[in-house]
Subunit: 291 residues, 2 copies
DNA sequence: CGTGATCGATAAGCTGTGCCGATGGATCAG
DNA sequence: CTGATCCATCGGCACAGCTTATCGATCACG
């Protein structure tokens, strides 16, 4: 029974309910009075109920009309708001953005988020943490819209925008023979057990950043895998082995650990913002800073 | 921008959003595919935002479309519910009924309410207590739809349906000379101070029910007005005077008061249900028991 | 790398319906 | 009784929305 009801009916109904006068209501709607009478009759027929009691001298709302009026008004208000909201979402002024990130990028991410929230206060950002592989997979799958990753390899389905770069440095126990030095040769670490992030969690990053070790003839055998930088640093501090790590995660070392520059060709590790290449949605563009 | 949006647009939008295929959606809507394409385009133009990204091989929702979909669905659902509800109100199956009543009619009112609530569980009844004059005025004014009153005079703008009738009886202090008798002549009360309901709260009831006193030659001078039957009875019990009262309010007398039949022509007091004569709304008819 | 199938957009013409102006009928004031 | 007011009804018309036919783009397949 409601299939043929249209918003026109509701708009006309509200006008008549406001004016309680078909002539004036029609005028307000910029139509002639007969057209209005017709449409109201039609609406009543569609609902199966009289909405007004009319005599040739007066128009009054029935109980049904009285009950329906606030609902109709509310409905039209909602629709207007929803259409407006849809427009804002379309223009990237509002909406939801799902961002995946790696934990060692929280600082740079939070800076970006703060600036973005100021520019787009009505955008709800949902965060998903994970390792670089997870973030890239989620991005590919569509679970997230933007990924913050470290040293992702070149991919033809994604755009990678460098956000920051930092050196990898060595971290050794304080009682290690080289602990007092400013810098260390990669070869000096050859004898020590290596504690590293699992390669599976970021194969390209692993390969790139361990390259100096391999070039120095070190056989990169991981003695202990650990997927949390802070835990890795603690392992080093307690003498379990040595590691190489992004500079930023070595800022506040515990007492038992020492940071040393790696001699030779420095390895730059890049934190990157990844998006799907086909994805040109305004919200994503906005987060990238393109508008 | 939303003036020309119609429900048709929303229905079509939802069909395409469900199917993600213009051909199938058109089929579901029983229209041809070009018509659907046109209407969707038109909606997009009205909102100012693309709702779908279409290639010749695939149709996907944009962010704006994704955001709009649940809202559009909700809107159509609400409308259907509201139309249904309006229909029920029109048929008197739901809605709100305002009932005015006098306190001495609570028993008979509560019986009626219980029966009515069983027949019309979705009708919300709002009660307004007052004196007969107030109830009649509210009814005339439209604040209430039904009034329960006592001995309203004939009125050409109202229908009065008798619900119950009862005698007026005398109530005297237990130490009154006539207290031991079964019945009393009106004249026997002539010497005692009269405690009565204010005439203004129900002039016709007052005149009708004090008529036997006047006919017996009693000069009806109200020594003490009181607008609460239980208080009046208490006054009598403490020896302040005598009263005549509807039988039903003398059912549980305090120790100091005695009830006596009034001799002579018995006065029948009527509890009546009053409605506006022009009021033929189904809910009112239903409460009257006419359907 | 052509070929057919799929699918949405576009074009052109038709049709239903929503609107208009004119008129009717009921009610009320004076 | 007369004129004014106001909603309903009637007949005609214009246009919005629908139809069929066709195009162009994309993809699967041999």
């Amino acid at each position: 029974m409601d299939q043929r009801v249209e918003l026109r009916h509701l708009r006309y109904f509200l006008a008549v309910a406001d004016e309680l006068h078909f002539g004036r209501a029609a005028e307000r709607l910029h139509i002639a009075q007969p057209a209005l009478s017709q449409q109201i009759r039609q609406l009543e027929k569609l609902i199966g109920v009289e909405l007004f009691t009319r005599t040739s001298r007066s128009v009054r709302l029935t109980d049904a009309g009285t009950a329906f009026r606030p609902r109709a008004r509310d409905l039209l208000g909602r629709l207007a708001a929803d259409l407006h909201e849809a427009g804002r979402v379309g223009r990237g002024e509002a909406g939801r953005l799902d961002i995946g990130y790696i934990s060692s990028a929280v600082v740079i991410l939070s800076e970006r988020l703060r600036a973005f929230a100021r520019r787009r206060p009505d955008v709800h950002v949902k965060l998903h943490d994970g390792f670089t592989v997870d973030v890239l997979a989620s991005l590919e799958h569509g679970t997230i819209d933007v990924g913050i990753v470290r040293d992702a390899g070149e991919r033809d389905d994604m755009d990678l925008l460098p956000l920051a770069s930092e050196r990898f440095v060595a971290v050794v126990p304080a009682d290690h023979p080289v602990a007092g030095r400013e810098r260390v040769e990669a070869g000096d670490l050859a004898a020590d057990p290596l504690i590293l992030f699992p390669r599976a969690y970021g194969p390209h990053a692993f390969d790139v950043n361990t390259a100096p070790l391999r070039e120095a003839g070190v056989d990169v055998q991981v003695a202990q895998e650990c997927s949390n930088w802070h835990t890795i640093i603690m392992f080093v501090a307690t003498g379990l082995g040595v590691t190489i790590a992004p500079y930023s995660v070595t800022n506040r070392l515990p007492d038992g650990a020492r940071r040393l520059e790696l001699a030779g060709r420095p390895t730059e590790s890049h934190i990157q913002m990844a998006t799907r290449r086909s994805d040109d949605r305004p919200l994503v563009e906005a987060f990238l800073g393109r508008r």
